[in-house]
Symmetry: C2
Subunit: 148 residues, 2 copies
DNA sequence: CCGTATCCATTCCGATACTG
DNA sequence: CAGTATCGGAATGGATACGG
């Protein structure tokens, strides 16, 4: 996205540089929702076609989307998430959960995440360590590389 | 950020509209790292001063940062995360974890998250339901409001 | 249907200078 | 130190038109 990440050793900065853009994030969201074709993205997002083409190209180049030939006789292409792209699921979940909590008036309707196997709404997810522990923002510090 | 969210019922779109911007995300990251003053942000990010002023204003207006009088005799102001802003911790963690996994070459050094109480690096966090379950991307679907 | 190309307006951004 | 003001270049964005 930009020439120089602010801090080249910070993983947050690296990620922001790759997907830290309104349209990229919404395209990825759509991809998780099963959208695969150019015009589907275009209509769903209301994005200009030239911008969409540029973003799709960048995301493919970044290894987040992959171009696939459509099933059936048509020669048209589709854009699907790679494994690297699917690993952005947590990021989209984070965006979704914060929005649900802080960007809607009480009682205002919004879309929700559904467990496809049970059909039930997914409850609020929280980050846990492998042994079930939690980390609060206040407990966490960033250690720069090279520091003791 | 923009006038019209693509889909007004989607929490992802709402969040992206508020913080889905390179500089906003990096400012929030810095705020979690304890940066509080205008010139600290400016030097750390290398951002233009007028852009920084605009972003800080927007983030304060969005209720993510709050202006506080600096301690001590100085009359200078500081920018600190509100509770709403601290709830973006998971989002920053998501950015960080994806970057660590996918945006660095093997062995390339990067900053890490540290548990402030133990001093130990925070292990890989994963999203779990309140009863300890996990949700994979493939299992999840978005149900639009109004759908059965 | 899938893109690319072009035009034009708007915004963004960085650099610099300036004020309290 | 903490901003505001301005300026010019670059990127973004929307609309439309065009070819595979």
């Amino acid at each position: 996205m930009s020439a120089q990440p602010a801090d080249p050793t910070c993983p947050v900065a690296r990620t922001v540089d790759i997907v830290g853009d309104k349209w990229s994030l919404l395209i990825i969201r759509d991809a998780f929702d099963g959208i695969r074709r150019f015009n589907q993205f275009q209509r769903d997002l209301g994005i200009a076609r030239n911008i969409l083409a540029a973003r799709l190209r960048d995301l493919v180049h970044a290894g987040i989307l992959r171009v696939e030939n459509a099933t059936g006789g048509s020669a048209y292409q589709e854009y699907v998430l790679t494994d690297k792209g699917e690993d952005l699921f947590d990021l989209i979940v984070s965006l979704r959960q914060w929005g649900q909590a802080h960007a809607f008036a009480p009682g205002e309707p919004h879309s929700v995440l559904i467990d496809a196997t049970t059909g039930e709404p997914v409850p609020r997810l929280s980050y846990t360590t492998p042994d079930g522990g939690r980390i609060q923002a206040r407990q966490a510090r960033v250690r720069k590389v090279g520091e003791p």
